[in-house]
Amino acid sequence: MAAPARTYGVDAFREALDATATPDRQAAFARFAETGLPHHKIEAWKYTSLVHLARTGFQPAPANFDLTGDLPERLEGCQRAVFVNGRYVAALSDAAIAGFSAAHETGLALTIGEAADDDPMLALALALGADGAVFDLADGATVELLSVTAPGSAPQMAHTQNRIRVAAGASATVVERHMTLGEGEATLANGATEIALGEGATLTHVKLQDEATDANHIWHHLATIPAAARYDNYVVSLGSGLGRNRVTANLTGEGAHCTLDGAYAARGKQHLDHTSKIVHAVADTTSRQVYKGVLDGRARGVFQGHIVVAEDAQRTDGHQLNRALMLSDTAEIDSKPMLEIYADDVKCSHGATAGDLDETHLFYLQSRGIPRDEARRLLVEAFLAETIDAIPFEPARAAALALVQEHLAR
């Protein structure tokens, strides 16, 4: 038997585990402790190691906080729940949000499943996540979940577990926004969101992530999509020095569909990772993924897209595309598509491209009087616009576009 592999961060994070933690939390932590912080040898974390977080000395964020700066305007047509450093803040949230409760009130404890096998951070979120949002959404529900990181004078972390349920046949929209307000030491926001759709339900799920550059943002969305249900996930990642957005989607009933679209832009030393796994478990399910990233400076982008088609999942239709725009010679993209197909009657594809802006486009714009820098900005925005334009909920689309424009103008 091989010697147990060295682990990182187990002791550092164990301090945060309450001595009175429930057996579920203890079990989740034990699962985390088996692996410790994820590192390159775990396939799902091949390009994104977190072992350095063991040295940062993160402490649980205190319950009290100072907010410097204003919250963004509430998205039009939404009821809003606000969390600061992982805790629900009723005073900043709308009263009586239909179908919403805070996890600390209802005692939400997500159950640890197979997904934690290669995701110790998911296990950690379940072990330490003290609060979160619980949505039981009816038809027409449109909610905003605003997660604010308020840094302190010492490195601090917040772990969160959320659950979104949509009733059978209902159609709902959830817009998650993650941002940093104020300045301070490094932060870690680590979360897990479980998404359970009823049969024939539709969820439009938008996530806008614009945390500060000394923030670490690690999130895992786990969706179960039964017969005739549809899960459309749009992520826009612009912030955080180290950001990871992972989606696991299980298509478990005939006619289930999943869309995963991502737009991200990184510069400086940012490291943004988008990892997905779509499991076509039964026949006649479809999935579409398009992730587009813009990398400048010494930024690094990671895309890992894993499609699994089970033996009985005939007539699966699954497509995946990853495109990266490289604006500097020192930027890097690591792209790892993976198709794992056990059925024989399927249509699956993947593609990856990386390249600079098209000189023909630049010249055309310049020949119309647009200076080169402005032309570049316009083309970068256009590159990301394809994803952003696909967001069906207009207020979220407008907010996403505004974030991208602001990011590019910085």
Binding site: Y364, Q366, S367, G369, I370, P371, A375, L378, A382
Partner: protein, 249 residues
């Protein structure tokens, strides 16, 4: 006034333009005709400042300024407009964003106040109507999903919006049927003013039936080998390039 003197240019190290001399006074329309490979498109790209087209000798001055010293956007601000033979499709950039950014960049460079969104749309709609086009051009991505003829009309709209003092039309007739050709020519003629100069580059004479030039030049192997009036274009059409080139040699 555009003055080209002894212009030599290479593409990928290969000489294409081999000593062009040409002057276009304000308000005049000059046509350049020539067989394939004579350097027509190279000349238009050199004038617009495209990368990869290297000037090795000679000069180009426009209204007293050294045009070759300016970046493509500065040339546009100085009043030069190139209507592309193959207008470029730019997915993701809407016609409105493109035109408004261009118009405002040029206004800014010329020291004029920028148009706000309302003023821009109003001005654009008026031009679109004049050219008999649809508002779709504002909503859709630049040139994406437009037919060849529509793309050429889009170029005319850009020209009308940017109000250049020197318009270079690079084979604007290529790929157009006769109806589309007439419409584009009408658009060009509507922009003819006593101050605005034009350089119409074409392989065929038929465009010049609709845009009647003051002067016709024949380009062959990187040089202008013959210059005449509109009748020269008709001769080329009737006799072909062979005889005229032989006579010039």
């Amino acid at each position: 006034m555009l003055t080209i003197k002894n212009l030599h240019a290479t593409v990928d190290g290969k000489p294409i333009l081999k000593g062009i001399d040409l002057s276009i006074p304000d308000g005049e329309v000059h046509a350049i005709m020539g067989p394939n490979g004579s350097g027509k498109s190279t000349l238009s790209y050199v004038l617009a400042g495209r990368d990869g087209y290297e000037v090795t000798e000679g000069s180009v001055t426009y209204n007293g300024r050294d045009l070759l010293d300016l970046s493509p956007d500065e040339r546009a601000a100085a009043g030069v407009f190139l209507a592309f033979q193959y207008p470029v499709e730019i997915p993701g950039v809407t016609g409105t964003t493109f035109l408004r950014t261009a118009v405002n960049a040029i206004r800014r460079a010329r020291g004029l106040e920028e148009h706000d969104a309302m003023a821009f749309v109003k001005a654009a709609r008026a031009k679109i109507k004049e050219l008999g086009m649809s508002d779709e051009v504002l909503k859709r991505a630049v040139n994406v999903g437009f037919s060849g003829g529509e793309k050429k009309r889009n170029e005319m709209l850009q020209m009308a919006m940017l109000e250049p003092s020197l318009a270079i039309l690079d084979e604007t007739d290529s790929g157009l049927d006769i109806d589309a050709l007439k419409i584009v020519a009408e658009g060009v003629n509507a922009l003819r003013t006593p101050e605005r100069s034009m350089l119409v580059i074409t392989h065929y004479q038929r465009l010049l039936d609709y845009i009647v030039p003051d002067v016709v030049h024949v380009l062959a192997d990187g040089r202008i080998v013959k210059t005449g009036g509109p009748e020269l274009a008709h001769r080329l059409e009737a006799e072909g390039y062979g005889d005229v080139l032989e006579e010039a040699a």
